[in-house]
């Protein structure tokens, strides 16, 4: 086995695999109401996804996260989860996914059956009106039921919350308190400049350095040695007994320890969430010799994975750092 090691000696062991660019919410910071989704024929088939994931596992990937869009809106997603779930304990240490929670009440039990043990759920607010404003759908009750379902079947839940100035800003401490009371960790994320949206992200850009000050005035935060191999830095909260994570792509750099790559729903391998460079794995998959072409594409990717991302939101009306939408790449 030839492990995936890039030109900066970073070992790639974590694949984030987007299974669809579609979503049943329309969060304002993520996509426009009338989002143009890619035609189905351009999206990888179930068999292509399975084959690709096994190709990554063969090259030393130990953890796969299914993303979207919203992975649970894809009709055959459970077949993929079951197929990859069979690799857990063999080639894979962990199979997980990130979901908006809308369909989680239905999927929680089958996910456990397939070998999933932990999931991330995106939740920006527990205020129904604000949820509707942010997601352009009245989905909060459904999402909360989904989170309750995950807990009921023993899935470990981590909540991901995008911190938004003037929107959920004031609710963040209460949200953390609730999450920890339910036994869920929570990670705060700064708005990322990906894809053209309506409105101006700068208006709601909330630096987490300030949020951290607010939380430290209220609670005792102790830096945690916990690492997920990603950009989050963790803190244990003495008063709630839970853990919070902070992801600060704009005010901090986290690239040195990067262990991951992403594959978009159309099979484009993105070496960095904050970089344009892609390698076409779909072309490799649909060629006459997919195994060899995938291996060659992965080797090329390792030579071109950039050292750092190129994120910035420095002013009003600024174009996004990247034209590609987050829903195409999958967080």
């Amino acid at each position: 086995m030839r492990p995936l090691v890039d030109q900066f000696a970073r070992r790639i062991t974590y694949l984030r695999l987007s299974v669809t660019d579609r979503c049943d919410l329309r969060c304002t910071y993520c996509m426009p109401e009338r989002m143009q989704f890619v035609p189905k024929a351009e999206v990888l088939s179930l068999e292509e996804l399975r084959r690709l994931a096994l190709g990554f596992i063969a090259r030393g990937v130990r953890k796969i996260r299914l993303t979207g869009g919203e992975p649970l809106v894809r009709r055959d997603v459970l077949e993929l989860v079951r197929a990859l779930g069979r690799e857990v304990g063999a080639g894979l240490d962990e199979l997980t996914l990130t979901t908006n929670g809308m369909r989680l009440a239905e999927f929680a039990a089958p996910l456990v059956d397939a070998g999933v043990r932990r999931i991330n759920v995106s939740l920006d607010t527990r205020n129904r009106a604000l949820f509707q404003q942010l997601a352009r759908r009245d989905g909060l009750m459904q999402v909360l039921s989904g989170i309750a379902a995950a807990k009921a079947v023993g899935l470990k839940v981590k909540l991901n919350t995008v911190a938004l100035k003037g929107l959920n800003e004031g609710e963040i401490p209460a949200l953390i308190e609730w999450a920890h009371g339910e036994g869920h960790d929570l990670t705060l994320i700064e708005v990322m400049p990906l894809g053209e949206i309506e409105g101006d992200r700068f208006d709601h850009y909330l630096p987490l350095s300030g949020v951290r000050d607010v939380l430290e005035a209220r609670w005792t935060l102790t830096p945690s040695p916990h690492r997920s191999g990603g950009p989050a830095r963790y803190f244990d909260v003495a008063e709630t007994g839970g853990r919070i994570g902070l992801i600060t792509p704009l005010t901090n750099n986290f690239c040195d320890g990067c262990n991951r790559v992403r594959v978009t729903a159309t099979g484009q391998l993105a070496m960095c969430l904050g970089g344009e460079a892609e390698v076409d794995l779909r072309a490799a998959l649909r060629s006459h010799e997919p195994e060899r072409r995938i291996d060659a594409a992965l080797d090329l990717a390792m030579r071109t994975k950039p050292e750092r991302h190129a994120f910035a939101i420095s002013g009003h009306g600024e174009a996004p750092a990247l034209a590609r939408h987050m829903s195409a790449t999958g967080g």
């Binding site: 369909r103 039990a109 089958p110 379902a149 009921a152 023993g154």
Partner: protein, 80 residues
């Protein structure tokens, strides 16, 4: 003994509530618990497609309950 029933997803509309507390005989099974509910609701919850979890673990209708248990009913995956 008292146990708490949790209805998740679209089962909430069926039950007309997100949760309900019921008194049952000590050592009752989930099946015995369903006998205490309205007939229509019990029939739907008995469907093999509805999943049952007690205390964070998936189980079946024959699962024996203890005082204070939370019994969750989860809806099946709906088509596309």
């Amino acid at each position: 003994m008292r146990v708490r029933l949790m209805f998740l997803g679209r089962l909430q509309e069926l039950a007309g509530a997100t949760e309900r507390a019921v008194d049952a005989a000590p050592g009752a099974t989930v099946e015995a618990l369903l006998e205490l509910l309205e007939r229509d609701l019990a029939a739907q919850l008995r469907s093999p497609k509805v999943r049952i979890a007690v205390g964070g673990v998936l189980g079946g209708l024959d699962r024996t309950l203890s005082d204070g248990d939370e019994v969750a009913f989860l809806p099946p995956v709906s088509g596309g």
